[in-house]
């Protein structure tokens, strides 16, 4: 037998365990802030994800990937979701997002983001209504207040004291967990860096559509709001960094993160769906094969 005989101690299952540990504070704060419904959503999503994983593989889970996917799927859901929505998201994420494509390593779309996208199509529109229907019906999230409403307080956004998805309950915890993963080199730090930079630059230079200027003027030219609200940080550190659905080569990942950043900021400034970070992930995922062909090293 020939070498190499040594292996790095950083195994795939360790990487996943590190991500779960980084997500735990976020989930804990979400439950603390939103109470039992959040616990039901998170618990339901993780349980359903694990159940589908076990059912499909007919074996105990090999790693924590189902737990990560379940947690992320739940964190993308509204805090006031009905009790069954978390379980539905977790099951969709693993069943459709992962195993329908052949399992770990083969799925082209981030399973959590895909489950959120599917739910938007499948469940009653009120759950994921646009920020303001053109008739004036509104959704309460800091990125999408009532038309004519006031700009959200940045301090409230930072501490998570605003309505929105579970994952926005603690932007500071998302940032800390994400930075820890970068420091541990669990995730590729270039991805969040480029994504957040693109969102920042886009929020400064893009003027926004007339409707946005009329209905939600605070969305224009406020980079900090765009960075902290609407799941931007969760997308940057936990969704785009999923290696399976990101391009393979470093430069490819940079392009990928930039695409996601452009889609995120464009959705916020030009469509009525400001909480579109998960959709931005799906769009960027769709570019991954092309990026990989463009740049393989």
């Amino acid at each position: 037998m020939r070498g190499p005989f040594l292996r790095s101690p950083q195994s795939t299952s360790h990487l996943m365990a590190q991500v779960v540990v980084a997500l735990l504070p976020i989930a804990t704060i979400a439950i603390w802030r939103h109470g039992a419904p959040a616990a039901v959503t998170l618990g339901g999503a993780v349980t359903a994800a694990l159940a589908v994983e076990i059912a499909v593989r007919r074996a105990a889970p090999r790693d924590l990937s189902a737990v990560i996917t379940g947690m992320l799927a739940a964190l993308l859901l509204p805090a006031d979701a009905p009790p069954w929505l978390g379980a539905a998201a977790g099951a969709l994420a693993i069943g459709v997002g992962k195993h329908a494509f052949g399992g770990l390593g083969k799925n082209p779309f981030n399973p959590a983001a895909l489950s959120r996208g599917l739910l938007m199509v499948l469940v009653p529109a009120t759950l994921f209504a646009p920020a303001w229907a053109w008739d004036g019906v509104t959704m309460a999230s800091p990125l999408a207040r009532e038309s004519g409403g006031t700009a959200p307080l940045l301090s409230a956004v930072w501490s998570g004291d605003v309505p929105g998805a579970l994952g926005t309950s603690a932007p500071w915890a998302v940032l800390l967990g994400g930075l820890a993963l970068v420091a541990l080199r669990t995730i590729d730090g270039r991805v969040p860096l480029v994504y957040l930079a693109t969102v920042t630059v886009g929020s400064i230079v893009l003027p926004g559509s007339d409707r946005i200027v009329a209905h939600a003027p605070w969305l224009v030219a406020d980079p900090l709001l765009h960075l902290l609200a609407g799941g931007t940080l969760l997308t940057a550190f936990f969704l785009l960094t999923d290696p399976v659905t990101a391009p393979f080569a470093p430069l490819g990942r940079v392009a990928f993160a930039a695409i996601a950043g452009v889609v995120t900021i464009a959705a916020r400034l030009y469509t009525p769906y400001p909480d579109a970070a998960a959709l931005a992930v799906l769009v960027a995922n769709a570019f991954t094969p092309a990026i990989d062909r463009w740049r393989s090293t």
Binding site: G3, F5, S8, P9, L15, L184, P243, S296
Partner: protein
């Protein structure tokens, strides 16, 4: 698993292969010799017969007159020839008390390049870095710079470092001789803390001289001759000490070794003897390796120390951190670890001609979190690529 190893899994993030130079402070020692040596011939033809009595350092095999590479093999032991075949000659006996290492080196002054080359050829000096190419042939080239490679070729190895520390004058003399032989103006001993695989010729030349080798080019194409530290020393010992190459220094290391260290060992020494005298605990060892942990081989029955054997390692299960292969997560670590920048995960799926640039250093496989046996697949892909050409 130790608490430290457990912590390292969480806190340390190894993207580089760890150096693990735990024997760096162990001075070179002589081990009690084996009763016999089985000297590999590498294609040279025996000049002795069973029953002959040979002196230590006596010629026992040489290449045919017309052979392209002239090899000379000398007996490390004083004693009786007990077996001869085309692969090895076995000599029973004992080494002289201190064979090499005490050469009166006089430097290169007054020697013609051709004298140096002939002496080196007759002394059977070969590269000691692993490829075992005859050194005289390298000295026949014309280059402007000679580098003596003091970056150990593999993790765990500290033998070259020790030779430099303890026999630096001989290494410098060898460098002077080599410079004279190839008529080079510049020369340097490269001895620095480096990453694996910085000791590869092409990286040494790039890092040290800023000269870049094309994928299939040789160092001499960019005017450089690279010698291993121990080859340079052997050159000095051959010219100044008039002693042929019959021994080398090896590192014996790993957590399953009772007496780790750096040892002078006669070429042809059976590894089984080293296992005994270095007190290697075969029950504790998960793997015993001749050579380094990245490019070495699992110990085979009857193995002996050759000129290219840099070490003998006995690693515990904790050290090798073996685990089950799981699916590729496309994390890109293999690409980022590869010193020649190959997109390894993709290449093993769909091999192309670029796979021939792989030097099988093993860095990609080391960092792969999914424990995929990448090097095995790369070797296979390389073989296919060559066959199809």
């Amino acid at each position: 698993m130790s608490l430290r190893a457990r912590l390292a899994q969480w806190i340390g993030v190894p993207t580089l292969v760890p150096a693990r130079k735990r024997t760096a402070d162990r001075a070179i020692e002589r081990l009690s010799p084996s009763a016999w040596v089985s000297v590999p011939l590498a294609g040279a033809a025996p000049t002795v017969q069973v029953g002959d009595v040979v002196a230590a350092g006596a010629l026992i095999a040489r290449s045919q007159a017309g052979a392209r590479w002239q090899r000379r093999v000398h007996s490390p032991y004083q004693g009786a020839v007990v077996s001869v075949d085309e692969r090895a000659i076995v000599v029973e006996g004992a080494p002289l008390p201190a064979a090499a290492g005490s050469a009166q080196h006089t430097g290169a002054a007054g020697l013609a390049p051709s004298d140096i080359i002939v002496t080196v050829r007759e002394a059977g000096v070969t590269g000691l870095g692993g490829a075992m190419f005859p050194t005289y042939a390298k000295l026949g080239t014309s280059v402007d710079t000679v580098l003596v490679n003091g970056c150990e070729s593999e993790p765990y190895f500290t033998c070259d470092h020790r030779v430099l520390a303890e026999h630096g004058d001989e290494v410098r003399c060898g460098l002077a001789l080599a410079k004279r032989a190839v008529n080079a103006d510049h020369g340097a001993i490269v001895d620095r803390e480096a990453y694996y695989p910085a000791g590869y010729e092409r990286f040494l030349i790039r890092d040290e001289l800023d000269r870049v080798l094309a994928p299939h080019a040789l160092p001499r194409d960019v005017g450089v001759l690279v010698m291993n530290v121990q080859s340079a020393r052997a050159l000095c010992v051959a010219v100044c000490g008039e002693t042929p190459m019959i021994e080398r220094v090896i590192t014996v290391a790993g957590d399953a070794v009772g007496r780790p260290g750096n040892y002078v060992v006669a070429i042809g020494t059976p590894v089984a003897h080293l296992l005994r005298v270095c007190e290697i605990d075969q029950a504790r060892a998960a793997t015993i390796i001749t050579g380094g942990p990245m490019m070495g081989r699992a110990l085979e029955a009857g193995a002996v120390v050759t000129a290219g054997t840099g070490g003998l390692l006995a690693l515990t299960a904790d050290e090798v951190a073996a685990r089950e292969e799981v699916p590729c997560i496309r994390c890109g670590r293999c690409l980022e670890a590869c010193p020649v920048g190959l997109p390894v995960a993709k290449i093993v799926e769909r091999p192309g001609p670029e796979v021939l640039r792989c030097m099988e250093c093993g860095a990609c496989q080391y960092v792969c979190p999914s424990a995929i046996p990448l090097v095995e697949r790369l070797r296979l892909a390389k073989r296919r690529e060559v066959e199809w050409d």
